[in-house]
Amino acid sequence: MKVYFGRAMTSTYRIAEISLGNATIDCSYEFSYRDKTFEVQRFGANFSIGYLKDLIVNLRNSVDAFAISDLPGIMRIQDRSYVHRQYLEVMSTPSSVPFCDGSQLKELSVVNALSRLVESGEIQPDKGVFFPLSLFHLESLDFLQENYRHYLGIGDSYSVFGIPWLAKPGAMTTSIAQMLLHLVSLRDLRSQTPRAQSIVKQMTKTALLAQAQRYHYVFSDSAPLTLFGDDLHFIHGKEVIVTYSHFLDKEVKKFGPKSIISLFPKSLQFHPYISYPVLDATLRLAEGKTAPLSITEWQDLLSITPEFGQRTKRRVLGSRPSRQYRMTSLFEKAKSRVIKTPPPDFAFIVHPLSKHHLLKAPGVRWLKEMPNSWLDGFEKMAAKAPGFVYGHIKHIVSKKTNREVNGVIYGIMSTPKMMMSEDPEVIYRRIESLCDHAGDLGAKIMGLGAYTKVIGDSGETISRNSPIPVTTGNSLSASATLWAVYDVVGRMKILDYVPGTKRYDGTATVIGATGSIGKVSAKLLSLAFKKVCLVAPRMDRLLDLQEEIRKISPECEIVVSTNSNDFASESDVLVTATSSLDQKVVEVDLLKPGCVVCDCSRPLDFTAEDSAKRPDILIIESGEVILPGPVKMTCDLGLPDDSVYACLGETALLALEERYEPFTLGRNIDWQKVRQIYKMAQAHGVKLAAIRGHTGFISDREIELTKQLALSRRHKA
């Protein structure tokens, strides 16, 4: 079963059609296309952009696509494209599912259908065409005015501003339209809703409709026509041209139009009421795409002839961004600078994991070309610098509660080497000042990344002096480790799973077993493997741990050693969780073919060269998770795509749970808490990031090849 953003994906796709228009005409329907069922629900936002955005936020975890309708999106006047500021605002609402507005599809389809009907004589524009709201039909207006400019009437001045002026298309109306698009707010349209039907408005409407009497055709979809309420009598005996059918056509028919002509392509009319945005969403989902289909694909679907296709293609693709668009973009940029971002829910501290990471900082890339000693000097100098806001992580949305949290990420420029060589007190003060800053910003919990939690007493002193609770994030790091190991061992299928004992018949070794993550990993692995080997530098601590694990897992064989190479040749799984800086923790040549190595150490214990040397073992880096929601990060954590460190994941999870407490602190982490955070992660929709090795993601094929190679080497041995 495919899982798609937390919701079980079945053969039924859900499309939420979010309309800016009236909420009173909501509906729900289903249809089938290419053996898939599509469930569509229309939600009217009643001209409230706030509610429209709220609907998106509320439904984004439940649907597969949003079809945004009745929102004037990208409009083209002459060869310029205009985009409404509030349209941009809506489209920038965070969502992990695509927004489909069907605008290109509508342009191609409507102009295609209209030209065919005009050519065949079924529509005779010289009898007069009245557009009550041409804003929604600019492509048709553009097409018709090439030959029938004098036969067209435009009622937008009334529909938008209440001025009963029936205009003709031309240079003047174009200029006015361009000007209006700079000024008009979508909310203005609500002045025409029943809520605002004052006597003056009624009178001006009557005046406009009297002027519209002489036109034979009324070009408008049914929904905007209902804005005229009981005054729709002017359509009596006229032909109404709609771009798509709507169940409100029934209401329109009550006023006795001669006919209703739909321009919707019959071959794609999967349901009588399907709209262009819904069709756009349907086709994208059916094709498994998130981006719109290409113009050529549309043309094929609409059976548009090549000659006509060239014409419409030119029109659709030929326009340039207008000055208004550029102004809108500038306005949005300025707005984002002036308006402060909402206070973060949590904060997290990262730092460069090696001196080479320092080169990612802007302005110092030139050091790459310089002698190594220059970089060493820079490393020492940078370590003295105070912390700073490195970036933000936004829109983490819980699958369970739909609660959204945002975080701020701080950076300190110390590399692990510098941090370990410096007095912990100095580092503490630096981190504490960041905690103060985060508290001032409104963050309610702080997470310590990488070595900031290794130094000194693993966050305990920092937590005592911090105004907000602090967590090291080690609980989820440990949990994610076993999660990754389990996943890969299961996919390798070398080890036998014994259902009676619920364990793999194999040996797991933990190097750095008495450390924070190592200890919990050892306890958890003892529940999943027949034998567990513990390696750490101090025997007394190892023996304590051995006793502890025997109580938890009496059926598991536990052996200990201070030499990491002792168990290398018999380990099916090897977890390293050390904080070793330069020395090699285990010789890669000694490892058993088919061994799954989980490198939880930072910096890593294994290198890319190790991977290349032993293609029959699988070295994975652990700890990465994918947070739920349309997560956006404004800084580079050195991880692929949307994945984040598990310790950051824990901080975010605690914020989602609103558990602002020092969940994990100190060297000893509570393995019950590890289980607890795992359950939390499952509930909120946190996923294990794709398994990553030194050279990128590990595919199923790579796992299979490693397995085959390992089996052949074992056979030879």
Partner: protein, 336 residues
Amino acid sequence: MKEARILVSGATGFLGHHVVERLKGFGQVTLLSRSANNAMRADLSQWNGQLEPQDLKGKFDIFLHMAGLYNLRINELEGLKQNVMTTHSALAIAQKAEIPHFIHVSTVAVVVGLDTLYARPDDVKPVFRFPDWYAHSKMLAEHMVRYWDDGPKSKTILRLGVLVGDTDKGKILRIDGPYHAAEGIKQIQGLIESFPTAFPLPGNKRTRIPLVPVNKAGWAISQICKHVKQENWEGTKYLYLAPNRGVGAEELFTSTFRHLGIKKEFSLVERVPRSLLESVAEKLAHLPREEVSYLLDLPPLDLTETQKILGVDWCPEFSEYESIFWKGYDQYVSNR
């Protein structure tokens, strides 16, 4: 006749308790709730209420939709979320679960300001000014029920009067509607008593507030469920749930003065600019300005259809339960 199977939303509210209690004697009742233990888990602010409506096919005869937010001071967003979105989900569930009858509990607030002699049950004329977002959102929800395509075969919209405590103990859960008058007058009691002339209060002699004791409303809704199942009709029907006469502003204020022991005359005022009247009422007596609209602009209601189903005297008039009304208010105040 087979026992009716009724799916109920909003069953945990003030009205919901009374309705469910009475429905139990007549059919199998299944409640929808986000948190109640004895209910089917559903959240109507989500897609299909987070249910799989297909699984409910053929299991229910009636969807009684009472969920929503009753608060005259809600903003636009709250109104749309709590009253419009929940109705959308309820209708979607009813459609997909093929529930043939849909009963929607609305409010008389949707006809406030209607400038006709009588508000007919199906009056849905667009009103140019709604007193509040509550009334506006309820109007939108009503229209949604009316226009919802391909849904339940019968849709009944009940426009409920102003709910007050029951006729046994007068118990209430919060101060709203006519209780606001008592709260407001109590605040300015000193001013009223020292006022040199009769004290001016907003109101007129025409408007009558349709007060409905909650237990009577519960009974009426349960009877309508029964009627809908029996008649098995198709289409959309509107009914007012209100007393024949209702209480006038004069009667309500007289009763309030008597209860509070204020021995002073008052006079009803309406011929001053509306905004001034509302502002003074709000600033001075903390009487919500929305309530003033109800005191002045609620038209008489056409109850013919309702009486055919529930009888003529199903709802007692205020004078019949006045003492219980105040007893419930006093009890609420003393426990506050």
